[in-house]
Symmetry: none
Subunit: 157 residues, 2 copies
DNA sequence: GAGTTAATGGTCAATGAAGGTCATAATGTC
DNA sequence: GACATTATGACCTTCATTGACCATTAACTC
């Protein structure tokens, strides 16, 4: 739980929450020094924690004056988001990517905690084992179906 | 009676009873050391004593910073869920029976309208077609998983 | 302006640190 | 003694962390 990667993740998210612009900029070496770790550890945290499914975009620049920029992506409520998601999901969806997506939707308050738990529970590989030859494809189908139904007007009546 | 497995079981249940959050987290190696046993003995205790039918869920994470989490399922006074779950094991569940069951649970306010819509939407035959040879068995498995997770004590924390 | 150098960040393979699985041995129970 | 339960150890998978080496950019020199 209290791994270094987790602490760096929390730290960055904390700053990001404060950032009015919706993004933060910092230098890799500086952050690595701050946490007394290898610089590549920062890349590890960024690639595993700040992915598109989780709602983040990372930009960078090398050379003197180089930097890392982590951008928090917002959702727009007019359904453009669902199309983007569907595109992001594609034809296959692993359990891990599904979990990331669902967590993200919970953060955006599109799902309640209960909904997130229930959906994640039936998206687990262990549910499909021995019954579904291509769990990734089925998961993608189910996730898209859920996204489509979220848009229904009558869903919260 | 005073087997090691029983002592570990009692120990975990004791802590779990105190836990306000409805779950406990610990490391397998630490617990194994504490009881001077093989780490796999912990798995044995968890898989034989902390099953959904007995009122528990177990989650875990591997790798550095890994952990085990045992979640207490809430009381189910009439044993309704437990009976339903037991029935669904190895059972088959058609789309129609699933819809009826979900509707009933919505009437009993176990599910919100939104939850019912979402779950029914991904339980449809059309989702499974060409991907799942035995959709009825998969549906039963998913339904059982959902019933178990509904009872999670940490779901509203 | 071209070339050089220093200051960044990127990649990847190796290693460490957890938990998972399974066959089998040991122990209890009747 | 036969069967069921418990306990272990060898081997596997997943996640974290580091360091060596690579790529890009800015600044500096001429």
């Amino acid at each position: 739980m209290g791994s270094l990667a987790n602490r760096i993740e929390e730290y960055l998210k904390g700053i990001l929450d404060q950032a009015e612009e919706g993004y933060i900029i910092f230098q890799r070496g500086f952050l690595a020094d701050f946490f007394s770790c290898a610089p590549s550890q920062i890349n590890y945290v960024l690639t595993t924690r700040f992915t598109a499914e989780r709602g983040y975009l990372v930009e960078s620049r090398r050379g003197g004056g180089g930097y890392l920029r982590v951008i928090r992506l917002g959702l727009d409520p007019d359904g453009k988001f669902q199309r983007l998601m569907a595109e992001l999901i594609g034809e296959e969806l692993s359990q891990e990517r599904a979990n990331n997506l669902i967590d993200r939707l919970e953060e955006e308050e599109i799902f309640t905690k209960k909904e997130a738990i229930l959906i994640k529970s039936i998206f687990a590989d262990s549910i499909f084992v021995d019954l579904v030859p291509s769990p990734e494809i089925l998961r993608a189908r189910m996730m898209k179906e859920i996204l489509a139904n979220i848009c229904r007007d009558d869903i919260n009546v």
